[in-house]
């Protein structure tokens, strides 16, 4: 936790918060914080700054905060991701949030096992929990938007063309395609496939929606590694 993320409900005055639960535990066990300490804080979906620890007990912590800095800029990106397996999903949500992706669309694909859609990790509270961990890691305050699209064809045919209009559209896919471009200017719509990759039909459909296949070399990377590698290369 490189940033103590404050929620609206924590505020007892405009410049004062009271914390308990997970963040209090973290202050005690990881930060080994004491009254008087100054910590980096940020208000969820708001500004960041410093907080001074006024009191700290086993029940709660009270901080006086000064929030005067903007959060870091987001990437100009819409990321489409074939739904990863549940354990990977949790880590990918953290990575996406930490790297500054403002909009993530979790999409079905032929190679997404049907059982993956049943995971409790897809519940809104579970998604939010991982996104918050990513923000705390990276020192950001603004939650990414996460959309869930369980039907590939209607989404890609009917909605993706408008959604990607005016952006550089790319599909990460191994094969005889151009290398993923570097340091692009302007907005990007990037689709990353499941373990085992998109099937040919899906690549065709994504191409028809305006996304061009690009590759990242002959090594097959796990989804989480591919996400961070592609984003680091593009921006």
């Amino acid at each position: 936790m490189n940033l103590l993320l404050l929620e609206d409900g924590d505020f007892v005055a405009a410049d004062r918060v009271v914390l308990s639960g997970r963040r209090l535990k973290h202050l005690h066990e990881v930060h080994r914080a004491e009254a008087g300490d100054s910590l980096r804080v940020g208000r969820l979906n708001g500004p960041m700054g410093r907080g001074q620890l006024l009191t700290l007990s086993t029940d709660e912590a009270e901080l006086q905060v000064e929030l005067d800095q903007p959060p870091p800029a987001k990437l100009p990106l819409t990321l489409l991701l074939a739904l990863p397996r549940p354990k990977m999903l949790r880590r990918v949500l953290q990575t996406v949030s930490a790297m500054g992706v403002p909009r993530l669309i979790l999409l079905n694909s032929y190679r997404v096992e049907k059982s993956f859609w049943q995971t409790p990790f897809l519940e809104p509270a579970a998604i939010r929990e991982q996104l918050v961990l990513g923000l705390e890691q990276a020192r950001d305050t603004v939650l990414p938007e996460v959309l869930i699209e369980k039907r590939f064809k209607p989404f890609v045919e009917d909605r993706l063309p408008q959604l990607s209009a005016g952006s550089l559209g790319l599909v990460g896919h191994p094969g005889p395609y151009p290398a993923c471009p570097r340091a692009v200017d302007g907005p990007v719509t990037l689709a990353i496939g499941p373990e085992g990759g998109w099937i040919a039909y899906e690549v065709e459909k994504l191409q028809a929606a305006g996304l061009a296949p690009v590759q990242l070399g002959e090594r097959i990377l796990r989804v989480e590694t591919a996400v961070s590698a592609l984003l680091a290369r593009l921006f």
Copy 2:
């Protein structure tokens, strides 16, 4: 497992292997393989090719193999990594192996907790297990070399200058430094710090050994994410 990795002990003839244990289980449960199937195979530290499944039982599998392709090229990189916490270490070893790093040096740092050096995940067999998983993921056969340096100062003062000679030396470190370069030519020596970062003294010592600090933006990334992001940007 995108490649079935064969060890010397598996070979019962020049073109024939017998498998049991973890890989047999994977053939049954994940590949749902049957006699006659053709699979991607590679010989550890050797060539890659195809294997045809001759027989498959609950006890063993026998394959006829043809190994006629070279493994993918490695990155021209020596990666120095402050020892991550045990759970992260396992994943980082997989990532490093999958991305084609030929040499990894696990190094002490002020912010590496002493207890991290006690983990059984640092035993040679445990390191090898994770490296093999990375090779199987990426379709490579050549194990990276992993060196362990428990003393920062003597390593950085006495050995690092020769080790990094003739390469572009870089230290990933947040701060007012140039951005990490992109698409470099030639060999690189890259040092990535622990959670919480290198301390100033360590950055000075790494600079004195010829490594220049570079940054990757204001977001603080987990070690695993930083590794894949920095490598994707550099190469």
